[in-house]
């Protein structure tokens, strides 16, 4: 079946990204206009817009299965691309699409369900003899149960939401005393985020590296991997910087882990793009963590070093095509780094910084790719994530990629709000990063300053602040008011005014 039209059930950067590939493939795209951001940039990048801007619903349409199904039926598209987040890993939504014969661009509902539920995924992994961190293969019911399991595994342990992802519903427990409270927090957060309070517990591997493999599979049983990504620069389980390949993997280890990743995908008859995440400890022991059954935020680094358009591959697989590439065709060419430029106040613990993008100057160097869902004048609001853009930079070698990224960052100007740019500048300069020894504890343990700043820059800022003060005082002094004017009153009014006293 050939796909002629796609509903993009997402917003922001990924909606723009999907529309771009669809345009090249000659597929008509539909976007949804919401009341939360009726002037969003992604709407200008799609061919047709379904207008919901006058509907003020509590639930955002991208999370509303029924509403989306209504739209799909009304506009009669061939396929739905869910992007990432929202309903991308919702098996029910995928099933509903399948039911009405609309192609869900992604894996089968069954694969989503199996990998989406972390306890089932752990069971599958165990059955297929895939290395796992010790822990439960069932969900934990209450704090007492959690205590029992944790005592057995040995602290530190980590509680994770069974249906989770992206750091939500996740808590690390170092001491038994912390358990009860952390358990409660993890379950409430999981319930809120995923509508499912169930959690499981596993051994917390301290300061590992986060390595993930990009998988591509078709509906004919062919599965390949497109190499790994290293995503160890994280803060509270939120990835900030990713690269491909990883400086930590030897070709042998890459092959070994890649094969395992393929094995996991095969175990659930996977199709479409997926990501198998591993933790890698300092002794090169690796543990399967989870499989993400969607396109990832950080997919561009893989695209940069393999030369494949992953969204295109997803759509082709959805059309029932066979993969035209085999594992042998995959060559990793050079190095790519992605920085997530978020509207966050690094100096205030990465808290979201809301505001309007007054100016945005993007580097247009060779080897630089920018994926962004916003343009100048757009606002970063509390309704959505704080991403402004993804800066993806390529180099022949890792050193060159780092140097090119630094150059690109220095040319990236965003005015009007605070961003993570100064954070990346300091990361890229740090010896643990440049020598590749960093791990997921990097920000917490190794980074002394979260942002790059020099004494000289502070002095310049002081000079500028003082100048602003002087200018303001001078302007106030110049703004003369004429008190005599106030005495110049129309006699008609003055007479009446005087008489009324």
């Amino acid at each position: 079946m050939s796909i002629k039209s796609i509903l993009i059930a997402n917003r922001g950067e990924i909606a723009v990204r999907i529309a771009k590939t669809c345009k090249i493939m000659g597929i008509e795209t539909w976007g949804i206009k919401t009341s939360a951001e009726p002037k969003a940039h992604y709407l200008t990048q799609v061919d047709k817009v379904y207008d919901l801007s006058d509907v003020f619903s509590e639930v955002l349409v991208f999370l509303d299965v029924e509403k989306l199904m209504d739209i799909v039926a009304e506009i009669k598209v061939d396929a739905v691309h869910p992007g990432y987040g929202f309903l991308a890993e919702n098996a029910y939504f995928a099933q509903r699409c399948v039911n009405i014969n609309v192609k869900f661009v992604g894996p089968t509902p069954d694969a989503i369900h199996k990998m989406g539920n972390k306890t089932i995924a752990r069971q599958i992994a165990t059955k297929n003899e895939i290395p796992l961190a010790s822990g439960t293969t069932r969900s934990i019911r209450d704090a007492a149960d959690a205590k029992k399991v944790s005592d057995k595994i040995g602290y530190p342990v980590i509680i994770k939401a069974a249906s989770g992802g992206g750091g939500r519903g996740m808590r690390v427990i170092h001491k038994p005393e912390e358990l009860a409270q952390m358990f409660r927090l993890a379950t409430t957060e999981a319930e809120k985020a995923f509508n499912d309070p169930s959690v499981f517990i596993e051994k917390y591997i301290q300061n590992p590296k986060h390595i993930e493999f990009q998988i591509m599979a078709d509906s004919h049983g062919n599965v390949i991997h497109l190499g790994e990504r290293e995503c160890s620069i994280q803060r509270k389980h939120q990835k900030l910087l990713e690269e491909a390949p990883s400086p930590a993997l030897s070709p042998e280890l890459r092959k070994e882990m890649g094969d395992i990743a393929i094995r996991i995908a095969q175990a659930v008859n996977y199709e479409s793009a997926g990501t198998v995440e591993f933790l890698l400890d300092t002794n090169n022991n690796y543990y399967f963590m989870e499989m993400n059954t969607r396109i990832q935020v950080e997919h561009p680094v893989t695209e940069m070093v393999t030369g494949f358009d992953l969204i295109e591959q997803q759509i082709r697989v959805a059309q029932g095509e066979k993969l035209t590439i085999t594992q042998k065709d995959i060559k990793i060419n050079g190095w790519a780094i992605e920085c997530r430029i978020n509207a966050e106040d690094v100096q205030a613990g990465f808290s979201p910084y809301l505001g309007t993008i007054e100016k945005m100057v993007l580097p247009n160097d060779e080897n630089v790719r920018i994926d962004s869902g916003v343009v100048e004048g757009d606002t970063i609001s509390p309704n959505f994530d704080s991403m402004i853009a993804k800066l993806i930079v390529w180099g022949e070698t890792r050193d060159e990629a780092i140097a090119n990224t630094q150059k690109a960052l220095s040319k990236l100007w965003i005015k009007g709000l605070k961003t993570t740019i100064p954070f990346f500048k300091t990361v890229l300069n740090h010896s643990s990063f440049t020598n590749g020894s960093f791990n997921t504890g990097f920000i917490e343990n190794e980074l002394e300053f979260m942002h790059e700043s020099t004494d000289e820059e502070e002095a310049l800022a002081a000079w500028f602040a003082t100048l602003q003060y002087i200018n303001e005082k001078e302007k106030e002094a110049e703004n003369q008011v004429d008190f005599e004017q106030g005495k110049n009153i129309n006699p008609w009014l003055l007479n009446k005014r005087m008489k009324s006293f």
């Binding site: 000289e456 820059e457 002081a462 500028f464 602040a465 100048l467 002087i470």
Partner: protein
């Protein structure tokens, strides 16, 4: 009678004081010639449509903007990093120094909401002894639950929020009596 000897005092310098009380002095009349450490050069303020305002010093460009200002306090964003200064005259600087030596005797700490959001859970209660770093409440913002920790050790004097309640940035949430 006129105050013969006293008249509006000429200010000879202004002092920018940062959050850590480091001071940067600038003579009045104010000049573009700036010396930092052993580097000296002329400062230029440039502006164009594409970049907005930036400083040009020693052939290097520094994007700059005023993020916020309140009376004599300025938050400057330079090269993506923000700096807070209060601009003081010699007189007000003296006052600042005096008040800083005095402020050690602060008795209460007010915990204000760092961002707008919703209180998911209150983890402490009025009258309870707390230590610095102890989680006091959970604030949900940007779809993430944030643990709000006690900035100081002491005793909870009053809790101003309930779970389920929405708060705005800088809303008072918890009052703490500082103590060991």
């Amino acid at each position: 009678m006129i105050f013969g000897k006293s008249s509006k005092k000429e200010i000879k310098k202004l002092i920018a004081v940062n959050a850590k009380r480091k001071k940067f002095e600038f003579p009045i009349p104010f000049t573009d010639e700036l010396k930092i450490g052993d580097r000296q050069g002329e400062m230029k303020i440039k502006e164009d449509d594409k970049h907005g305002t930036y400083l040009l010093w020693k052939n290097k460009k520094y994007p700059v903007e005023v993020l916020s200002k309140n009376q004599n306090r300025y938050e400057i964003l330079l090269n993506g990093v923000s700096y807070n200064f209060s601009i003081e005259t010699p007189t007000s600087y003296k006052r600042l120094k005096y008040l800083n030596t005095k402020s050690g005797s602060k008795k209460n700490e007010n915990l204000e909401a760092p961002m707008p959001g919703k209180i998911v859970e209150v983890l402490t209660e009025e009258g309870r002894e707390i230590r610095a770093g102890e989680p006091l409440l959970i604030l949900e913002a940007m779809k993430m639950q944030n643990e709000i920790q006690a900035p100081v050790s002491g005793k909870v004097k009053k809790i101003h929020v309930k779970s389920g309640e929405s708060v705005l940035k800088d809303d008072l949430m918890v009052e703490i009596i500082i103590g060991k």
